[in-house]
Amino acid sequence: MGLETTVAHHGAAHDAHHAELGFWRKYVFSTDHKTIGIWYAITGLLFLLFGFGLMMLMRFQLAYPGQALPIIGALLGEARMPGGLMLPEFYNELGAMHGTIMVFLGVVPLAVGGFGNFVLPLQIGAPDMAFPRINMASYWSYFVGGCVMLASFFVPGGAAQSGWTSYAPLSVIAGSGQTWWLIGMVFLITSSLLGSINFIVTTIQLRAPGLSFWRLPFFVWSQFVTSFLLLLAFPPLEGAAVLQLMDRLAKTSFFLPSGLVVSGQVLEVSGGGNPLLWQHLFWFLAHPEVYVLILPAMGIVAEVIANNTRKPLWGYRSMVYSLIFLGFMSFIVWAHHMFMTGMGTTMAAFFQTTTMIISIPSVVILSALIISLYGGSIRFTTPMLFALAFLPMFGIGGLTGLPLGLTAADIHLHDTYYVIGHFHYVVAPGTIFGLFAGIYYWFPKATGRMLNETLGKLHFFGSFVFMNVIFTPMLLMGLAGVSRRLYDGGASYSHAQGVLQWNVVSSWGAWSLALFQIPFIFNFFWSMFRGRKVDQNPWHATTLEWAAPSPPPHGNFETPPAAHRGPYEYSVPGVSRDYSPQWEAVKA
């Protein structure tokens, strides 16, 4: 009892104090998880848009190599696009930064920083995150990292241009933009580490009474496992970044082999380093990172499906066990990105085996989500449309990954457009569709208003069609042997001549996809002020966040909630309403 009165007393005292907070403390340096979540989401969406813009530039070069880009070419200046023609160096900058920005500045901040921060405390009935000030620090570290990455475009030599993978020795001898990339990464990694600690402690310690782990929404589980991936996989990349900074700035040779010749001259370094060391440390993070990219989206899709089928998730426990197993396995598959580096057959077989095994939990989760649809009363709302589309898109993404995990097939497919097609299927119509579903689903909780359904469906159908138009051809081009990261899209290679037209198809797909984001952007801002107003639970959902007002006040719940049942008690036999919220007491 003492705790509640303490909480209430301090809550009241704090609200009185809170009323005094100026603009800066309340909005800019807020420690409220909802404000921070919204900052993460908006910043992440802006970076996604920017990264998409970089890609649209690249797609012109790929579709029409050697042709001047009208208007925009002139705007970008003679240093990057003399006469409107893209320099290969600039193409490489665009490629490296597109990947970096989408993964580290766009998707993860939105999926984890945005959705995780906003929804997780609400879904577990907590007043905020365990460490609100660390939460704020984590956002600002991300922001600074993002600024450093953006600023790198303007340094002499331009931004990083050695791929988002920054392989040595190219990255070590590259221009100063690469140093900025490394420093930016240190800020981003710090942000993720602080955030992951917060998420794990919050989930374990701040669950409402009655909310045991087996009553947690799948979304919370997905953020929980994701946080462990971030916590334990990012530090090695931070270590690697330190080593690469040492190579670049202190002239060490961690990644530089002896006798390296650059532009006809032997490099004046001590040598004795190993480029593969960089690859190992990089992929030790980057493989779990791809699960960081997908798991939150799976969590969102699970919530939306349960809610819009009006029945419990099928196989919830299997899904959770799969999630945990997947998280663990993700740490021991990384060298499947390195099959072509000359490792011995024993180690290759080891990584091939773990990679094949890791596909199992993914299949379990996907199958459970699909089976969850069976017998449901499906409401084809916009979030549900995105959630439904996620299923086959992630299916294609996952299945196309299998040949890459088999060493024999990977010989043919490694570093081709097939790889690009594979991972974009998972992240673009996969994760990003999951994130869109989440935006349409939780927008009313954050704002008290609904997004417009008509604009939402327009956004959905256009996006669904054109995502496939962009990425299916890449699978075909890759199978034909067209390498990735080619400045001219393969135009100078004889084996690519038969498939070059697909570059044009993909490019028009990308530009069309951009057009269909306009209804979404308009909808997002317009609905904040003019959207249909709703009460606290417009979707008739069961999880705890819908017990809070829309939008929730500081401290979230008027009275601290308790959980009395599982998270997906929809269509319970004998109950007249088709949903039994977690927070409502069980009637005797």
Binding site: I204, L276, H280
Partner: protein
């Protein structure tokens, strides 16, 4: 006060302090061993094994007694266990992938 210590704080803390002094003494002795082993000029592999063994014992003492791991919660043990399990592949697998190409001295 954390619940890993009993409500009668003072007696418990005195035990901790006595243990800390004992660990301190052990650590100094083991540090002496560490340096002494060096002067044995053992072959490389044996030297590595012995040095790591002694370091592990020292580290375990620090972890167990200075960091209170002997009386910590199960949850912390699980987290650290997970970390240890993931630490090993990180430490060893990169080198294993190049073992067939290097000459082991």
């Amino acid at each position: 006060m954390s619940a890993s210590h009993d409500p009668d704080g003072h007696a418990d803390v005195d035990r901790h302090v006595r243990a800390a002094y004992f660990v301190f003494g052990s650590l100094l002795v083991l540090t002496g061993f560490t340096v002494a082993v060096y002067f044995l000029h053992l072959p490389t592999r044996a030297a590595i094994a012995l040095a790591l063994l002694i370091a592990t014992v020292k580290g375990s003492l620090v972890a167990a007694w200075f960091m209170h791991l002997v009386s910590e919660r199960k949850l912390i043990y699980w987290m650290l266990g997970l970390t240890a399990v993931l630490f090993l592949p990180l430490l060893l697998l990169p080198t294993l992938t190049v073992l067939d190409r290097v000459v082991l001295r």
